[in-house]
Each structure stands twice: as structure tokens, then as C-alpha cells.
Amino acid sequence: MSGEVSQLEELKAAIRGQLDSLDCVIGWEQGYDPLHATPLFIRSEADLERLTISPLAVHNPATYTTGFKGKKIGLVVRGCHSRSVIELLNEKLIERDEVVLFGLCCDGVVSQRKIRAALPADPGFVEAVELGKDELHITVAGEQATLKLQEVLADKCLHCAYPDPLVADVLIGEKHAPRQAASPACQDAFEALGNEEKLAFWQDTMSRCIRCYACRNVCPMCVCQDHCIATSRDHLWMSQENTPVENFMFQMIHVSHLTGRCTECGECERACPVDIPLMLLRRYMNKQVREVFGHQAGIALDKTPPLLTFQVEEARIKERDW
Amino acid sequence: MNANPYLPDMATVVEVIEETPNIKSFRLVLNDEEKMRSFSFKPGQVGQLSVFGAGESTFVINSSPTRMEYLQFSVMRVGEVTTRLHQLKAGDQVGVRAPLGKPFPVEDMQGKNILFIGGGIGMAPLRTLFTYMLDTRDDYQDITLLYGARSPVDLTYQAELPDWLAREDVKTVLCVDNEYPGWEHKVGLIPNILLEMNPSPEKTVAITCGPPIMIKFTLQALKKLNFADEQIITTLEKRMKCGVGICGRCNIGTQYVCLDGPVFTYAQLKELPSEL
């Protein structure tokens, strides 16, 4: 644990040095209970004291950047968050000289869903959390439980190829050896299902969507925000009616507008209050983008999203000859 | 109003008047003859007009309760519902939920001097009260109307303006923002013309409506002319859905514009949180 403590101190020192020149620095602090973190907007020394970088600190701070246009802010970023920043830079939605990036070499963050499933009682009854090196000691409803960190890490972390920030002004922690991205087993299993089963899955799953648009608003790449076509009546893409088909239509809008732009930070799925596995859609589309355009969003600066450009001869699009 | 407050009455468009390039007035008659006969409202109350399939929007009833051959609504084309309304012609069917909201405090105005200050489409809610007062002229002292728009073609109620100007029992002043060929009336912004007119606040009620920016400067001008907050009345615009104080979007603090308004005195507005 001492490694993380010294990293936290190192990070705090780095932020402290720049705090005066920044509107704020976005990191994390403990949230409403010891098991949950929440984004922290650091504006003062006192705020800085509350900073945490534990694996419970999951939120992607890049989501907030477009709300600070014209101001200079700092972000504490993990590998996946830095990809969102790169993509925003590539699309000229933010300016490089308006963000200072405090990069964390990341060992992964937790999935609250996995914690819920692993605990002996509802995590709502959590009393205390202690972070060990590779485990979480959680007191819940009077019972002690020790969870192996590896077993409750988010899927995106288990299969992450970019744990270290790909762009940063300050880099904290040890860099990782190169890793190969992989597809989670549940993804492969779902893709292998027949059309009928997949359709039935979405029909049922979309029936519990309440169209709160948390998936959209938490998405760092969903920059239309207040002007999303889903809530426009002119043109009318979708009914306000909350039914599986309209709810799914929204996911189609989201996926379509993220084609070649999604940085797989997993925020949409994390934010969903009714646990809809949205990453099934995102990962699948990203795989298609990789296969056809050899493109991954947010892994290199100065790249154009593939749907904003073209080649006269597309090497990997097979023209249908019929 | 029906027992089901969401249920509109069907009405037929009897006449469509093209007021300006983007404003039309619609004259409606309820299909149920008995309902039309017994329909009663007071100046300043509003109604929800439905174009079924597009939706519903709120407009003031700008005809006078003293002239009940039809209900008139003036509509500026800005969004989905108003665009569809503008496509209507005589004979077409619409839904009406009316009257909604609170009217102008007409009784309190009796025996007083009345000063109307209207800007653009903001003339619509003033028209109902103005016409009403012309029809009950003896109840009031001097009546003055200052009505302005961006340009001469943006003035609504063109058909009625000559009559208003010609009448001896009211003083009507028209103005536009800039000089236009053939324009024989005042040129300038409403608040400035108002200051130039220099009306006395003595026993006077000022009623103003128009775009937010015009209201803002008109209020300043009225204050400069020593009008007290209680002497200034305005009527507000908000996005509304239910029209009966339930759906929760048109509130300013505790007050629902659809239910407690849309007519407020400046004194009342000052008591409310500043969220216009």
C-alpha cells in the first residue's frame, strides 16, 4: 500500500505546484460511503487534501472537459481516460494548452457490480473499507469480507492494453510492460448467439431502460449534450415513449455517433442505473472499426476519426458485387 | 374546462389572418355550440391549442370577452407546433383547452388611467384587454397605447390600427426601430419613446408585454417615470405542458406561471426568485 500512498503524495505535490494557474483540477474523493468515490473538483489546498486515487476512483474526468471551454483545467487521468482526452483533442473539441494532464499508471479500477455480487450482503450496508495491496477488506452489515482485487476489477481493466496514460504532462507510477488487449469471455459468448437470442436479449434488456440518458451524459465523446438529436422534435428521431424499440433506437444513435470515436472507457455501462451491458455494443463496433480501418480511437494524436475521411480504394471494404 | 383537465374541446378554425410574415391570428369556434355559448373568460387568460399529432402550446386568448363570436389567438411561428398551426386554414380542426391562468386585475383598474406598452408579438395579450376597455370605455380614465415593432411589417393587427389611431377616446402611438419609407409615426426603441411621452404615474396602471429585453428596459423607464412597482403589470412567457400547475416546469419558486400567472405585477415579481 505504501507505493500508492507515495504516489498520492507525489501527485498532490504535482497538483499543488500548478493549482494557482488552473481553474480547477479534476480528481476523486471518497463519496457517500467508504465503498464509493466521487469526482473531486480541486480549487484549494483543502480540496487537495481529500484527493484519492484508489481503485474505487472510477469516474472518467475527461467527461467534464468540454464544460470548461476557454478555461485552463487539470485532469487526473488513467490510461483509458487519456484516450478520451486524445480523441477530444483530435476532434478539436478541446485545446491541448487548456488541459494539464496528471497521468496515473493504472493497475485497474473496480467494478461495483462485481463487488455487489461478491459481498455477503448488499453493499448498501457497507460500514468500512480497507485497501490492501491486492485485496479489499470490506465490512458489510456486520460481516467481514475480503475480496481479491483481481476478481472485482472492471472488465475493461482486465483486458486493457493501455493502462498508462498515452498523453500526460506529469506521469506518476511505474509504467507497465506492453499488454495485448483481449475480448472478455462474455463478449465472445454473446456474439456467438443466434439472431433470435440476441434480439430477445435486447428486447428484454431495453424494457428496463428508463431513458435517463446517463449513458449519454457520462460519455466523454457525447459532446452534443443539450442538443442531442434524441431529444429534438425537429427533426423527430424518436418518440418520448419509453418502450424497448425507442430505447434501443437511442442506443443505435449513441453507437452510430461513436463509430470510430469510442475510447472504451466503459463509463456508459458503469453509469447505467439498471445495469444494461452497453459495452457489448461498443466493443463490437470498435472491433469492426479496427478490422476495417485499422483504427482505434484515442491511442495517437493527430488522427482523424475514420468516418470523417475516406480512401478512394478501400482496402478492407469488399464491394458487394451483385 | 373539462373534468379531465387534459381533454381539449374540438374547435373549428373560422378565419386565419396573416398579421406579419411570421405571425398569424386564428379565429376559432368550439364545435359544441352549447360550450361556445357558455364559454367565459377574462382578459389575460390563456389557452392551450392542439394540433393533434404535433402537440400543444400555450397562447393568450387575444379577443375580448365582450366579443364572443370567436376566440382569437395570435401565433408566431417558432417551433414544431406553431409551424403546424401556421399550415391551418379555415375549416380545419384544432383542440382548445381554455381558459387557463389568472386574468388581468380588471376591477382594480377601473377609474384609472391606463397605459399599454406592447412590443412585437407582446401586443397579443394587450389586445384582449385594450379591446375590452374600448368596449367598456366609460369605466376608465385616459387610455394610452404605445405599440412598437422592429419594422412596419412586423406590426400585428394592421386591420385594427387605423381605427385605434382615429379614435378620439384613446391615444395611440406607434413606433418602429428605424426609419422606413412611408412611415409616418415615431421612430425609436419603445423605452425611449416612452420616456419622450413622459406619462404621469398619477392614478395610472402600466401594462407591458414584449420580448424580455424590451421588458427589461421598459421597466427601467417606468421606474424613471416614478411608477411604483404595484402600478406595473406584465404577463409572462414560460414553457408549459399541462397548463394546470401539475407538470412542474413553469414555476418561478413557488409560483406556477400557468396557474398563478401569467399576469403578475412588478411588485409580485420582485418577491419571487429571479428566474425569468
Binding site: V126, V218 | G53, E237
Partner: protein, 345 residues
Amino acid sequence: MERFITQDNLQRFAAGLAEKKNVLAPVASGGTTTFRRLRPGMQLDFSRMAVISPKDATFPRNETLLTVQHYPEESGKRMELQEHLPEGEMVVIGCRPCGTRGKLVFDPVYETQAIKDPYYIRRRDGATFITLACARPETTCFCHSVGSGPADEEGSDILLTAVEGGFVAKAVTEKGEQLLGDSLFEDAGAKAEEAAASNASARKLMGEAHDFSSAAEKLLKRFDDMDFWQTQSDKCISCGACTYMCPTCYCFNITDDEAGLVSRRLRTWDNCMSHTFTLEGSGHNPRSTKAHRLKNRMGHKFSYYPDLHGGQIACCGCGRCIKQCPAGVDIRQVVMAAQEYPDER
């Protein structure tokens, strides 16, 4: 009247009801627990508080207010309007006291001297609430601070309390008493005391209540302090998770859909945190930023509503908005920050 029912029999009882009426109950599905229409073969899931509140029972997310049949112009026929009032009864099983109490916030708005919302009133009057008392508070629970508690009976027809082997069922209304006449219920005997002890212990576990009584005034004092609201709303992402999860949020939208010659007027849940909520036709928006919108959300629940309705706070303390907020905005903290804000000298 207090009766006892075993866990298995409660499932049977619910299934039996579901054959005759629409039953809404917490069901585990796809890694979460939400209220769903109980259908044959579905199991009740009482292991956690359902993520979505039971609001759907009295205020469904979609409701057709009316439909209109149009005719082609050449037919010479006038369009016909059809009112759609809800029919039938509904039983909600396994809601918590907080969720049940949500409708109490609706009542003074949806049924006044002058205006009666027939859609809501019919649903409410046709609904039976079989509420489950909470044995233990979650970290997000604060029902005791908004005038309620973990075994609050208000609004319920039956209150269930979990005891060894099953539940003690207490009839709160006549409707509830009739249901307890079912042969699946047994004599409660000593179980009734066990239930009372459990309810008392749950209340004790909640600790001291926070006093929100100064919130109405203090929130208004901060109304023009946009710096305060910007800071409070920093992490808010302006989505609708909080409002849609909320048992007391009663705002709605009305929109028309049309297909062919039929159009219908639809009432759907709306969300005051969305930009379009107050966007006017002219493009003007009185609540143009998330700071303005959060201010109204807090103000409505803890200031305007209590001002209009005898001090009752428009919040049932269920904590769903805190738990499900993607950014962890804590309504308690926002209101407390306004309460604790030093008064100007």
C-alpha cells in the same frame, strides 16, 4: 390485525394475485432488481431495494392521455378524439415504506379543489400497496430525516416485516385486512413481537435524523449565488437518473406521436435536469445550465414544495438518487451545504 406468512407462501400469494390483477413486484433480471409485472414463474426478489421505485404503479412512465382518429380530407369527416382513462386494479408487493410514500407527495398536486388529474387518481385508488419494512438502513437512506422511518405504514395497505421463516403482515387499511383473510396467512402469535422488535431495531440503526427544517429558507437565500450552485453542480452530468429513480418526482412531459391517420397524446416522465425541460419556443431558457437546474431540483423538493404544502418535504429519503447517480451527487450534502452556508453579516 397482524398475520404471519411463510416466505414460500408469500410467493404463492403473490402469484395468486397476479392471476387476477396486475401485480408489480421486485424481480431480479439481468444483474439488477427492478419492479416488473409479476408473471407466472417469476420469483420475488426481496434481497435488495429495487433500483427503480414503484412509482410506475400510480404514475407510469408512459401513459396515453388521448388518441385522435384523423380522416383523409376528401372523406369530409371530422377527426375524432378519444379519451383514455386507465382501468383495472394493481397490487404492488415488496416496495419499501419510502417508495410507497412517494405518492403522498403527488396527492396535493394531482388532486386539488380545482384540478383533479383523473389518470393519477384512478390509478392511485385502484392500487394496493403491500410494503416491506426495512430491517437495516443503507448508507444512502435518510427517510427518518424527512418525516418517515423504516417501518412507516403511511400510504400502505399492508406492512410486511421480515421475521424468522417468513413475514409478519400487518393490515393498515380495510383493503389490506381483506387480503389478509387469504388462507395462506396464519396466526401471527409471538411473531408479532419479533416484528415489532425488528422494526424498533431498524429505527435505532438509522441514528439521529438530520433537521432539514431550515432548508426552505436557506435555499432561497442562496438563490442568486450562482457560484454556490456552480460548485454544487460541478460533478453533476445533467442526466435524469435521479429524477427517474425518484419515487416523489412527479413532473411530466406531454408529447404527440402520429402514425398514419392515428395520433396520440402521450404523457411521459420528464426530468428537470434536462436542458429541454424549460426551453422556450423563442430559444430562451430560464434554466440554461446544470447549475440552474440543480438549484431548481433542490429548491422544489426542499423549499417551494414544503412552502406550498404545509412543510412536507418532496423527498421520501430512499437515497436512490444518491446511489444511482453516475457522479455520486448527494442530495443531502447539497441541501446541507445551503443550510450550513454562513449568513451574510
